[in-house]
């Protein structure tokens, strides 16, 4: 009898959620079509800019998701991104090999992930401090070694996906992008499947919620944590590489400009779920694109206020729309055997 009432409750809540999402989706599609009919170039520009801004946030949020789902708080994403961006860029300067630069960026993220994992799993250091160490190291070291006036052979170029790229409106936005953007989209789907439909994902979530329970079932808590933080590092590394190889094409001091932290907000907004976080990142990207558009239009408000729009929207949405979201229960707590 008890289990039946529980059943019913869940069915109801799913329907309600689904309904809300479908309505929201329809509203967005309708709005895009409406604007597209009025001014196609502008719509397409806004959508492209949305995606460009969202990619590093998506990758950063994925990093956060992998770490936190396994129970490790990672506030060093910013530093991982910055370090990877720098080394990617330097590799590009030295060798001109974009693929190698990309790999160096990913490897840098992974190594910093390993470093964070070591600090928090082996040394049981407070994880917030561990992440801060990475952020400070990244700012310090990249700032020290960066020299102006370096030139590169170029950056990652767009790869149109054949006829798909010719579809009106969504073709150029979705199917004519440089590689890291494609990788990011694929990684969202990959992460979603990995977390919720594979053995690895089940164990990862268990370790982030109740490591001792996982341990009593023969799951190696430390191994799962190490690997997830390293995998997360690769994602943050990609985000860094995106900035120098695909986005800006250059390195500047402190160029991540808080994206690693915004990625954390995106992750929370997305309830530690890859697809929802990607949507959240797109929302941030959209707010940013709108802000740019408004500034172009030369509206008579000080641009600082316009620049605030994405953040204001974030506050409104986070406090109103999204229900209470719950972090993995064992997050931030070092696991001790015995």
């Amino acid at each position: 009898m008890i289990s039946k009432t529980v059943d019913k409750k869940r069915e109801l809540s799913i329907n309600w959620k689904l309904l809300r999402q479908v309505i929201l989706g329809l509203v967005i599609v309708a709005a895009i079509l409406f604007f597209n009919a009025r001014s196609p170039e502008k719509t397409s520009a806004v959508l492209s800019s949305t995606l460009r801004y969202a990619v590093p946030l998506i990758l950063g949020a994925l990093c956060g998701i992998f770490c936190e789902r396994a129970g490790i708080v990672n506030i060093g994403i910013e530093g991982q991104m910055l370090f990877s961006a720098f080394l990617s860029y330097m590799t590009n300067v030295w060798t001109g090999n974009l693929l190698l630069s990309l790999l160096v960026g990913m490897l840098t993220g992974a190594v910093l992930g390993l470093f964070l994992a070591f600090l928090s799993i082996k040394l049981k250091l407070n994880q917030t401090i561990g992440g801060t160490v990475i952020n400070i190291l990244a700012t310090g070291i990249t700032g020290y070694f960066y020299q102006t006036g370096l030139t590169t052979q170029g950056k990652l170029w767009n790869i149109p996906l054949g006829p798909l790229a010719k579809i009106p409106l969504i073709g150029p936005v979705l199917f004519n992008n440089p590689p890291i953007t494609y990788i990011a989209i694929l990684l969202v789907i990959f992460s979603q499947v990995l977390l919720f439909h594979t053995r690895w994902g089940l164990r990862t979530r268990a370790v982030g919620e109740h490591p001792r329970a996982a341990d009593t079932l023969g799951v190696d808590v430390f191994k799962i944590r190490y690997w997830n933080v390293i995998i997360g590092g690769v994602m943050a590394g990609l985000a860094g590489s995106f900035l120098t190889l695909e986005g800006v094409g250059m390195f500047e001091r402190g160029m991540t400009n808080g994206r690693g932290f915004i990625a954390l907000a995106v992750m929370i907004f997305g309830k530690w779920n890859p697809i929802s976080s990607a949507l959240a990142a797109l929302f941030f990207g959209f707010a940013n694109a709108m802000q740019i558009q408004l500034q172009f239009m030369g509206i008579q408000i000080p641009h600082q206020f316009v620049g605030m729009i994405p953040y204001l929207l974030t506050i409104i949405v986070v406090s109103g729309f999204v229900g209470r979201s719950r972090a993995p229960a064992a997050e931030g707590i070092p696991y001790e055997k015995e």
Partner: protein
């Protein structure tokens, strides 16, 4: 080793049940404690072996060694006569050993099915094969009569069903040996009966069970053999046929135990606590407490009997200032008390022994010294001009540990490292060492051993005899009947009757607890 041991061992030698698991000379120490001191035990195929012992006797430690969660300092484990090294739970699971832990090992936000699969995942290619797992679970449920909704989320299930999930989890891994660590501590009498039936069904299929408990009646009801542990050692082996409750109790505690509480007639004084027309609505606007009016007088114990979940928790939380109530009035010594002001209540002489000692009774990460002054730290002599007086706090802890028989390595041990019985004594010590006129005790002996139960009961009676009003809430009818002077029965948030304990019968109260009002 011991007389009883060799005698019964001989007597049982010629049974044809083979030994499936044997632990020999296990030693396990923790900093400051010898948890297992040369412990040996053997488990035979298809039997229920009861492991009986006081809190802190080392039962869980021994089982955690066998399950691979702890590594023993010395000693060996044999499986079907062969030495078997168990270094981690994985080895134990492979050896067909399953364990239902005292504190459940379920991931609260996972579904039943996900908990089932964790660590023993069936996959199809790279993906989880949830269908196959569900089919297997349904088969198991059906064949053992353990009905469960595979998609229910653990945290939404009542404890009884959570335990069922734990048992199914072990069966899902094809256990031959099932360790149940204090499984009845969280169950109602009916659920306990149900569990015993399940245990018998399992042994009929050849599963061997180690059943850990400290409840004597249960041991006699369900065990084939009984091993008694005390302070890390095995002190005897016996069978239900050879002994009775008194025999078991004295072996377990190491001295004669008085199972009945002795008390003089109550010397009743003025009313200390008055509750008038108390109503509490829950989130769904349902009454969790309906129009309760009660009074507790100095020098008496008012017991509130009732099956768990009939509004007791909400009721106690409201009168101790931990929950808002929708209407009604609460007075202590005639003074009206404000809502949700625990400190005001404390300052008016209320002591509270909460239901969940780990969540509401103690700060588990704090040392005992701090836990002992949680209600008084801001007053002299523990604090002067806003600065804590550490010496005084330490002295206070030492004194209370002595007076309330708290067994811990030192006063600065963190509360979380203590056994349940000792944790409860810390709470009792803190609450009753103040000047109090009223004690609210909610399930004060839940999950405790005979020694601690006896101690808590004795302390409550002492308080009553010293002229304090005691409100005791318990779902253990035995406890209510042996301690109380008056008994109120709660059913679905309502008090159905208040009876004089001397005249009330078990049957009468039992019926009221099920909602039957006699003419």
């Amino acid at each position: 080793m011991d007389n009883t041991y060799s005698k019964t061992a001989d007597a049982l030698m010629d049974t044809d049940k083979s030994v499936i698991l044997e632990a020999k000379h296990i030693y396990k120490t923790f900093p400051g404690t010898v948890a297992n001191d040369d412990v040996s035990l053997e488990l035979r195929k298809g039997e229920v072996l009861a492991l009986l012992g006081e809190n802190g006797a080392g039962k869980s430690t021994l089982m955690n060694v066998i399950y691979g969660l702890y590594t023993q300092d010395k000693g060996e484990i044999f499986l079907n006569g062969e030495p078997y090294a168990i270094d981690n739970p994985h080895d134990a699971i492979n050896a067909g050993i399953g364990m239902v832990h005292q504190h459940f090992m379920l991931v609260p936000v996972f579904s039943v099915l996900e908990n089932m699969m964790l660590g023993a995942e069936t996959t199809k290619g790279p993906f989880l094969n949830k269908k196959a797992a569900e089919a297997k679970l349904r088969d198991l449920s059906e064949s053992f009569g353990l009905e469960i909704d595979p998609h229910a989320i653990i945290e939404e299930l009542p404890v009884g069903l959570q335990q069922r999930v734990e048992i199914l989890k072990a069966l899902y891994r094809d256990v031959e040996i099932l360790i149940l660590d204090e499984p009845t501590a969280v169950l109602t009498p009916q659920e306990t009966e149900e569990l015993f039936k399940i245990m018998r069904r399992l042994t009929e299929r050849g599963v061997s069970i180690v059943f850990i408990t400290h409840k004597l009646k249960e041991v006699l009801a369900v065990a084939d053999r009984i091993i008694i542990m005390r302070r890390g050692k095995v002190v005897g082996t016996t069978t239900p046929a050879e002994t009775d409750e008194h025999g078991l109790a004295s072996m377990m505690v190491g001295r004669e135990v008085i199972l009945e509480v002795e008390k003089a007639p109550a010397q009743v004084g003025k009313v200390v606590l008055e509750i008038e027309h108390l109503n509490i609505h829950d989130n769904n606007q349902m009454h969790s407490v309906r129009d309760i009016s009660l009074s507790v007088r100095a020098g008496e114990v008012l017991g509130i009997a009732g099956v768990q979940g009939n509004g007791q928790s909400e009721f106690v939380e409201a009168i101790t200032g931990l929950r808002r109530y929708n209407s009604g009035e609460i007075r202590i010594d005639g003074k009206r008390m404000p809502q949700e002001k625990p400190r005001t209540l404390v300052e008016h002489g209320m002591a509270h022994i909460p239901e969940d000692r780990q969540k509401h009774g103690l700060v588990l990460q704090y040392p005992l010294t701090s836990n002992f002054v949680l209600c008084t730290y801001y007053r002299e002599p523990f604090s002067r001009h806003g600065i804590l007086n550490e010496n005084e706090i330490l002295r206070n802890a030492e004194e209370l540990m002595e007076r309330f028989d708290v067994r811990a390595p030192s006063p600065v041990t963190v509360a979380g490292d203590l056994s349940g019985g000792n944790q409860q004594k810390v709470i009792v010590g803190r609450e009753l060492s103040r000047e109090v006129s009223l004690v609210i005790a909610n399930q004060p002996t839940r999950g405790l051993d005979v020694g601690s139960i006896e101690y808590i009961h004795k302390t409550l009676i002492e308080m009553r005899d010293a002229g304090v009003g005691v409100l005791l809430v318990s779902s253990e009818l035995d406890e209510i009947m042996s301690i109380s002077d008056r008994i109120a029965v709660i059913y679905r948030g309502e008090i159905l009757a208040v009876l004089d304990a001397a005249e009330a019968s078990r049957e009468e109260i039992g019926l009221l607890m099920a909602g039957h009002i006699s003419e």
